[in-house]
């Protein structure tokens, strides 16, 4: 036993797991990685796709359509889509407008506050390519390089039905394990 401890350095000791006969010790990350390879992930994804709570964070005129989608008329609750006011409750961030150079740090802060798993939806021409503010000095271009965007919804602004379809496409992506919210 003494001989074994002499060989183990300080760095190795953190990863060194004492073996107990008949007991398998593991970590939660290892369990996650194992589950991703099994059918259990399908059940987890089924639960996740049916509770896509999005953050009420309007950034422009598309934000009005986003709020209208969350209202009673479209009844998004039947898909498990509920607007939330806090980034810590939300699963989906909708970039619903042009991103200025002044707003980008705030947007990244909100994105960092959201708990994983989380997804991004790009709503409207402004967030996709800049819209009428294309080539402006204060607009950030190539927003898809800064956030892992799953769904692009073109339109100026897209109707609430289009946003709903975007959510349904995101649900299909999650079920097909093709989304960017989880590392497979």
């Amino acid at each position: 036993m003494d001989e074994l401890n002499d060989n183990v350095t300080v760095e190795d000791q953190e990863e060194y797991v004492e073996e107990i006969p008949g007991v398998i010790t593991t970590t939660s990350m290892a369990i996650n990685d194992f589950l991703k390879k099994t059918k259990a992930q399908d059940v987890i994804n089924w639960g996740r796709k049916n509770s896509l709570w999005f953050m009420t964070q309007p950034m422009g005129c598309c934000g009005v359509e986003m709020i209208a989608t969350g209202c009673a008329h479209y009844d998004t609750d039947r898909f498990g889509i509920i607007p939330r006011n806090s980034p810590r409750h939300a699963d989906v961030m909708i970039i619903s407008g042009y991103v200025t150079r002044k707003y980008l740090p705030a947007l990244q802060k909100l994105w960092g506050q959201m708990a994983a798993p989380k997804w991004v939806i790009c709503m409207g021409d402004c967030s996709i390519s800049g819209g009428p503010f294309y080539e402006s000095y204060s607009t950030v271009q190539n927003i898809d390089k800064m956030f892992p965007i799953d769904v692009f919804i073109p339109g100026c602004p897209p109707r609430p039905e289009a946003l709903l379809q975007g959510f349904l496409e995101l649900q299909k992506k999650i079920m097909a394990k093709k989304d960017h919210g989880t590392d497979y």
Partner: protein, 158 residues
Amino acid sequence: MDAKSIIDSLVNKFQDSLTDAKVDSDIRISAYLEPEMIKDVCQYLKDELAFDHLSSETAIDYPKRNEIVVVYHIASYNHPVLLTIKVKLPRDAPEIESIVPVYWNANWYERETYELFGVKFNNHPDLRQLVLPEELLGDWPLRKDYEGFPNRTARNLV
């Protein structure tokens, strides 16, 4: 009080510093002014001629003439005349006295003119950027020789 009597009163009072004063129509008058007199003229307009409303304050960039022109639109609630004052400043170091002590609402106009054109307003109570992020200060985006526009960093998605 009509446009003719207002411009006569102005020219009589500030005949050394006012140039090209003219009556454009019944309700529009305009004049060019020397930079150091702007606060005195505004005080006189407000006290004597009932110009109690500063409508706008902005600037125009003229790279070929090497000057930046600061434009003041001053109106009144008592008579229908609107006065346009233009002040020529050198383009490499534009500096002018702030008129915030006379018209308090010039505060944000001057901050915006400062961040977009780089015109420095002396004795302004709080001269910093209004809307632009801090790292853009010093680029002066609305000057004609600004190189950040058009911004062609976007990838071609097609």
